[in-house]
Symmetry: C2
Subunit: 339 residues, 2 copies
């Protein structure tokens, strides 16, 4: 592979001059610049990032760790990151951590080795023990670069972040159910160990309270963001005979479990029970399955995260910045019973 030295030789100038035109430095005569540019073009020369990074002591790459790339929600985040990265001439090292803390640790190590100049992280949901959580925070600090957290939270450390309007999403979904005439309200929560689950639940409770409605304990189904649990809880509820008017499902997996159970019982949403989910489920639209939800633009979350980290990298540190991408209400009819 051709080097700057050979370019200089071919153009009849010094390495310094070549470097100057590469870096758009003004102190180059038009003649020299043109000669160099010609050679660069002809030889298809591209400087070695290794050498540049080493010399400049900074890299034009960032790292991104994502818990499950096969979940299109995270795929979209990655897509958004990639989009902005390309515009700004940054490369991104991408790691799928499979929701495993161990793999996340490994990814962090490798990113340190690569000397990335920033990290975008959607953490695994597995750092429950305090000791482990502490070590995790240490490795993050140890990286010594700007960090932007996406979607899920990392406790005990003030980091920039891009989050969904979690509480608001719960509030909006619930209010809308109420507006549509539902009085007996239920929710299948997410894993309440996680802040995003608690926040969504909080929004639910607030909306119920604001409407002056009573909350029945047995209609608070404690789920964990998994399909299976949501399915089981819904089934139990439906079989108990006491059915709420409307229900909020805390994320897309929860919605799926709920829908499965409802379907099995031969019931129909928007007729026998009202529902608004948090998160959209693309295929349902495609199949023209009327499912109302509170959605978000996850691709935009990735874009915002990437912009944020570039900002940090370029303008150094200042106050913690936290973005919230708005939630968007999409009504299809399932928010109202008796259709």
């Amino acid at each position: 592979m051709i080097t700057i030295k050979e370019v200089a030789l071919l153009a009849g100038v010094s390495k310094s001059t070549v470097s100057r035109v590469l870096n758009k430095n003004d102190n180059v005569s038009k003649a020299a610049r043109e000669k160099v540019e010609k050679v660069i073009f002809e030889q298809n020369y591209s400087p070695s990032a290794f050498a540049v990074n080493l010399s400049k002591r900074k890299s034009s790459a960032i790292g991104a760790t994502i818990p499950e790339l096969d979940n299109s929600f995270f795929g979209e985040i990655m897509k958004g990151i990639s989009e902005v990265a390309e515009e700004r001439e940054f490369s991104v090292f991408c790691f799928d951590t499979s929701n495993s803390a161990h793999r996340e640790d490994r990814a962090l190590q490798m990113l340190k080795h690569q000397r990335v100049s920033g990290l975008i992280i959607t953490p695994t949901s597995e750092r429950t023990e305090e000791e482990d959580a502490r070590r995790f925070r240490d490795s993050l600090n140890n990286l010594g670069v700007p960090i932007v957290v996406v979607d899920r939270h990392i406790d005990g450390i003030a980091l920039d972040g891009v989050y969904y309007e979690n509480e608001k999403s719960g509030y909006v979904a619930t209010s809308e159910l109420i507006k549509a005439g539902n009085r007996k309200l239920a929710i299948i929560t997410g894993d309440v160990q996680l802040r995003i689950a608690r926040d969504r639940f909080q929004g639910f409770k607030q909306a119920v309270a604001d409407a002056g409605l009573e909350l029945d304990e047995k209609f608070i189904l404690k789920g964990d963001f998994s399909i299976d649990t949501a399915y089981r809880l819904t089934k139990e509820m439906l079989e108990s005979g006491d059915i709420p008017d409307g229900i909020v499902t805390s994320n897309n997996r929860t919605s799926m479990g709920f829908l499965k159970a409802v379907r099995e019982k031969g019931l129909k949403i928007g007729k026998d029970i009202a529902v608004i989910g948090i998160d959209s489920i693309d295929i349902l639209d495609i199949l023209d399955y009327k499912f109302s939800c509170v959605a978000r633009d996850s691709c935009e979350m990735g874009r915002v995260a990437m912009r944020l980290i570039l900002d940090r990298i370029e303008n150094g540190t200042s106050q913690q910045i936290v973005h919230h991408v708005p939630c968007e209400l999409i009504l299809k009819g399932s928010e109202r019973k008796g259709n």
Copy 2:
């Protein structure tokens, strides 16, 4: 950030010795090794990949370009790549090309700049003009590193590849429809500009021929792998009044468009019309929607691609290697009419 020099200083040895323990070179006394390891551990030292790569003139990173990460099929491929990469201590630069040839070109440039030692590419489907296709092949060659193509094909250049059993998937789907008693068969093809679409179609035709059945031209619906086209074609067919017994849908998007149209017409698959799709659609299982298909393990495609490229990087070049990941028949009942 701490360097090898400081580690050497702290351990009371030379940089050379530190380098030796880093590279697991045997010519180091036990005493020296232990001192060095202690310092490395205490200081949490990790060598700079820049410097190592520059010095060794090779990198421990590969590039991956993917057309649409928000499509979980490609997300799974990326997940598989990431999985094996981690095991083998490789980092991967990931680019979402959004199915745009331009962005793909840019990605290739950036990967050249990063001096990756290999490329895994699922090409965009946009290189129709010969001139453009040629320039594309040139940039691939210009990279000067091993390349593994995944899923889609690149014409006019012999590259290692990991593909789906396309023809077989069409054959199996069709045979199964026939076995279930369907005589009047239809297919919604993919974009026949693409080899994977032609191959699947070929499998379909072969199975029909092998069964000694007649093929009606009007039941060959020329789609393009998009939901919308499949929807339109299906709708037209259903409205024409002449409906086939069974149909093959050429990929997941095609299946969705088909299902949408069928649903709109108030028909039911497995009752009014039989269908087997190529590619699975996860959520349908979850919703317990009986949809038979011929599926594949796309995560495995990523794993195989990564193993293949590492092999190339480590063992140099030899004969072209092409892998085919097997297709798997999943019957749910929709392959038979009248249920």
